[in-house]
Symmetry: C2
Subunit: 210 residues, 2 copies
């Protein structure tokens, strides 16, 4: 794509989308300027503080969203309180389970997070009328499925030490590209979160880190 086209296009873009990270890597990249304009009329930005849960397990949700900044934990809780994190999402991931209104897990901000929220109806219309949009959602779902299956191997067959190592390598892979090559990086999750992600206890995580 040449710079001229990009420049002309961005002129027609909704203000909110002009400098949006999700505009390029995310699902919005499948949309025309006109579709973006229409969608942006019904969408809104929202910031979420670290630690606050914004979708509850079993809750019925009438919106989808894109992550613009931050890390989101997807987790499942059992009746007795045992918890397992089943996915981590980073910008510019799309959040929400297409074609199913009830959420089968909770979503909680692991760091301070910013999202762009779309009404369910608007997204479903776009899916129906723009095959390229569904294609991107499909690709993301396949990517998440690959990740989930890799993680099943970690959960089922690795030792505590290997689990922690796998976690660190996962985080390093999603880290700030500016920190690339650096030997120190920031952990977006607390020990308790890491434990829930790895199927361990916080004590074991702590011991393995030392």
């Amino acid at each position: 794509m040449d710079t001229l086209t990009t420049a002309r296009r961005s002129h027609d873009l909704p203000t909110a989308c002009r400098s949006c990270e999700a505009r390029h890597g995310g699902v919005c990249s499948a949309l025309t300027a006109a579709q973006l304009m229409e969608l942006s009329k019904h969408s809104s930005r929202r910031t979420i503080d670290a630690g606050s849960e914004f979708i509850g397990q079993g809750e019925s949700v009438s919106s989808y969203s894109n992550i613009l900044k931050g890390v989101v934990k997807l987790s499942k809780v059992m009746a007795d309180g045992r918890q397992q994190i089943v996915g981590l999402q980073f910008a510019p991931d799309f959040m929400g389970r297409p074609f199913f209104e009830q959420s089968r897990m909770a979503a909680e901000a692991a760091t301070d997070t910013e999202i762009c929220v779309f009404p369910r109806r608007a997204i479903e219309r776009l899916i129906a009328e723009t095959p390229e949009f569904e294609h991107l959602l499909h690709s993301q779902a396949l990517k998440e499925l690959d990740d989930a299956r890799d993680w099943m191997l970690t959960l089922g067959r690795k030792t505590a030490q290997e689990k922690v190592a796998s976690f660190l390598s996962l985080i390093a892979g999603h880290g700030d590209p500016e920190a690339e090559g650096r030997s120190v990086f920031e952990l977006p999750l607390s020990r308790a979160d890491i434990a829930d992600f790895l199927g361990l206890t916080i004590e074991t995580v702590s011991r393995q880190m030392t």
Copy 2:
């Protein structure tokens, strides 16, 4: 859909598809008779004996397939031999990772299995030209993702006893509908397979079953 339409349509169908289970529940249901006819020219049936691996981990695959009968295990193996089953597929599931040629896991028939094999190219053309086809693939991917995440909770947080119970309930749910309500049903997997699925050893599985 009325019976007349069905009857007329099935007249135009490729012989192989006439009595195919996957014709209705599976991805083929998104295709027109003409597309099916075209696809069937390049596709072939294949039977696989229980226990034989037909896609190796890391192998590059040039075909997709539909399961017509039987149960298929998807598994990941570590360098030292530790193995984890990361998915089970039943008729009429579609098998293969769209848009990615290299298989990240092995596929092995758990029971005697029959599949309908399609060349990669033919499927990718269909995806590109038939949004409804990609929609069904997308739906199946989302379903598999839901299953994988449920299983992560089982692997990470349940006791051996709960794992076995979850496994039995999973199998019962996919069982022969004719056996519905029956208190006895057949296990399509060996103890070793169950252990690999649950992240346990065969001894533990055996003890929990008693």
